[in-house]
């Protein structure tokens, strides 16, 4: 398939591919076991300017391009979905500042994120506020020229390892969703600590941790946009970041497909490679076609975002939902093709199944995505 990439896009894809093959694949199993944060790999990504792909040029990046971010995330995910999400989650934490930050905020935070010296994280989820973000209990109260934050965020990707956090907290509970606001909180802020680190099924190279705010004092100028805009910040951020999650799912599916094709050509049963059996061939054909269909959706959506199309909520949801469902199906089928060996941890394929699963869950479960898509369809017809 020709994706009609520009020369610069090909350069980014090739470079990310090189990083994935030389620096990620060899250590993927190690980090899956140890659950350590893969700083050595992130350092290589940083030195190769990969963190600049989602940050404007005037703040040390290469221009904010969701498409370029997707190309890099897809390639990294082919080798390890866990290491790739450490990278993509930094983009998620950076987007609110790119989208809503003042010039001072951008100047203060973006250069260090663009160079990869610091990693970012986005924190909205709480124990009682998953899909229903209006259930947020963390509060921010303005006291003089400061805000005081109290509450708990959990399941925060890059939690503990990131230096720059965008945290959504309620500034006016009586207003419900319109009473939420977004804040930039730096690691080390007084009253900001980290709690439980999760032991996960997949993407184990990435850290997922609780953030605890106990009378956490941050300067008032760390408010993003205005009070009450927390959910708008969140929705706009997710519109931009969902293609990235879709690209992660796509990369995981592509990586599993490649391993499966390689394996069935080598595995001999009944005197010939199992790739010669029609039952196997038809599985491969379906897997490859679904991966290409997902790629078409992801790339088109990312290009829409970059072109500045205003409302991309439906397409973003479709890309994330479809690519992650494909990733789940393709990785399970890939494991099936490996037979009994596929079930063993000595082979790399079972990790792809574990890494794929989260893409159906985070940044909005696929049920939430379907809700977004359906609502848009119905609204469009009602116009």
């Amino acid at each position: 398939m020709d994706y009609l990439l520009t020369e610069e896009q090909k350069m980014i894809k090739d470079l990310a591919h090189k990083i994935a093959e030389e620096k990620i694949r060899p250590v993927a199993a190690k980090y899956d076991i140890s659950e350590e944060y893969p700083w050595e790999v992130l350092k290589v990504m940083a030195e190769s300017d990969m963190f600049g792909l989602f940050i404007p040029e005037e703040y040390g990046g290469f221009a904010t391009s969701v498409f370029n971010l997707c190309l890099a995330t897809e390639e990294f995910s082919r080798a390890c979905g866990g290491i790739a999400v450490c990278y993509a989650a930094s983009a998620l934490g950076t987007f609110p500042i790119v989208l809503f930050g003042t010039d001072e905020q951008k100047k203060k935070y973006l250069p260090a994120l663009a160079s990869g010296k610091k990693v970012a994280a986005f924190a909205i989820t709480e124990p009682e506020a998953g899909s229903d973000a209006s259930g947020i209990k963390t509060v921010a109260k303005k006291v003089g020229d400061h805000y005081i934050l109290n509450g708990l965020k959990h399941f925060i990707t890059n939690g503990g390892d990131a230096e720059t956090y965008v945290v959504v907290a309620m500034t006016d509970k009586s207003k419900g969703a319109r009473g939420a606001s977004a804040f930039i909180v730096e690691k080390g802020a007084p009253g900001f600590t980290f709690g439980k680190k999760e032991d996960k099924f997949g993407i184990r190279a990435s850290s997922t941790r609780e953030l605890i705010f106990t009378d956490c004092k941050i300067p008032a100028e760390n408010l993003l946009a205005k009070e009450g805009m927390g959910f708008i910040v969140t929705m706009r951020t997710f519109d931009m970041s969902r293609p990235g999650v879709a690209a992660q799912a796509l990369g995981i599916a592509q990586g599993a497909l490649e391993l499966a094709v390689k394996y069935v050509r080598e595995r001999v049963q009944f005197g010939k490679p199992i790739s010669s059996f029609q039952g196997i061939q038809w599985m491969l054909a379906d897997m490859a076609t679904e991966v290409e269909a997902a790629r078409g959706l992801v790339y088109s959506t990312a290009r829409m975002v970059d072109a500045g199309v205003k409302d991309v909520a439906k397409e973003s949801a479709m890309a994330k939902m479809y690519a992650s469902d494909v990733a789940m199906k393709v990785t399970v089928d890939a494991l099936q093709l490996f037979g009994g060996y596929g079930y063993m941890k000595d082979y790399p394929i079972e990790k792809y199944v574990r890494d794929a699963k989260i893409t159906q869950i985070y940044e909005g479960t696929n049920q939430v995505q379907r809700g977004i898509i359906a609502l848009k369809l119905i609204k469009e017809m009602a116009k």
């Binding site: 350069m11 980014i12 470079l15 090189k18 030389e22 300017d49 990969m50």
Partner: protein, 260 residues
């Protein structure tokens, strides 16, 4: 520190096929890469530049497509690329190649250091580096695995031997050939790739270099390739058993019978 790195573009595959009729490498359909050992040379040069300042110039002798090897070197931190390219240089053996490269280096002006990979993965001769230093009449230190100390006047180097290593102090300018133990080559940066894409590669032909026509190309190459072949796999050895004096006696008898 002005550093020159000599590199070679080689076919990617380790299993290079040979045309049995012409005794030359069959390059069709095989991707070209920078000789892996030369990557360590480039990396070491860039590291020295980062420590001491100066610049890194890359030279390669080859066909026009070797341009891409020079750009790759620039993408990981080299400053400029020179392509020594002329039909007059075609068919050069290691003698003519090192003579030609030495000529090109003289043309570039003063330098402090030349670094080469220990050998090329296609020809495996390990002769061009030492050949260049001979033509330029500067010291050479081969198989360098570590730069222990460096100033702009001299270097203290660890040189790999079959068992262990030796430490050598050399004045500069000098030529080093490096082994893979010396460093881990970096991945290019996006900025580096963009710089490389737009970099100007200087082509040096026989016209610019004005070398002795008798010493370049096929006619300047004393090497005659009589035959290239894949050697037959080694046959299994013979195991001697018994007590040590007994084995020793058997061995002596065997050697004697072989000699006779």
């Amino acid at each position: 520190m002005n550093i020159i790195v000599c590199i070679k573009q080689v076919p990617e595959t380790a299993e290079v096929r040979i045309n049995p009729e012409t005794n030359t490498l069959m390059r069709e359909g095989v991707k070209s890469i920078i000789n892996p050992f030369d990557m360590y040379a480039i990396e070491e040069a860039v590291r020295l530049k980062e420590r001491f300042g100066g610049k890194v110039s890359i030279i390669t002798m080859g066909p026009p497509q070797a341009d891409s090897a020079l750009r790759e070197a620039i993408s990981i931190g080299a400053d400029e690329g020179y392509l020594v390219c002329d039909r007059a240089f075609a068919g050069s053996d290691t003698w003519a190649t090192s003579y030609t490269l030495a000529g090109a280096i003289k043309k570039l002006g003063p330098f402090d250091l030349i670094i080469c990979g220990k050998q090329a993965s296609d020809g495996d001769t390990a002769q061009v580096g030492p050949g260049i230093s001979t033509h330029l009449n500067i010291p050479q230190v081969t198989y360098v695995k570590k730069v222990e100390e460096a100033t702009d006047k001299s270097m203290r180097l660890e040189r790999m031997l079959e068992e262990g290593y030796e430490i050598i102090q050399t004045p500069l300018p000098a030529l080093l050939t490096v082994v893979k133990e010396i460093n881990e080559p970096r991945i290019p940066s996006l900025k580096g790739l963009m710089r490389a894409k737009n970099a100007k590669i200087t082509v040096l032909t026989q016209k610019e270099l004005d070398l002795d026509p008798q010493q370049i190309g096929l006619c300047g190459s004393p090497t005659q390739v009589v035959k290239i072949f894949t050697p037959a796999p080694r046959e299994g050895g013979q195991m001697l058993s018994g007590e040590i004096p007994e084995i020793a006696q058997k061995l002596v008898d065997l050697i004697k019978s072989e000699v006779n």
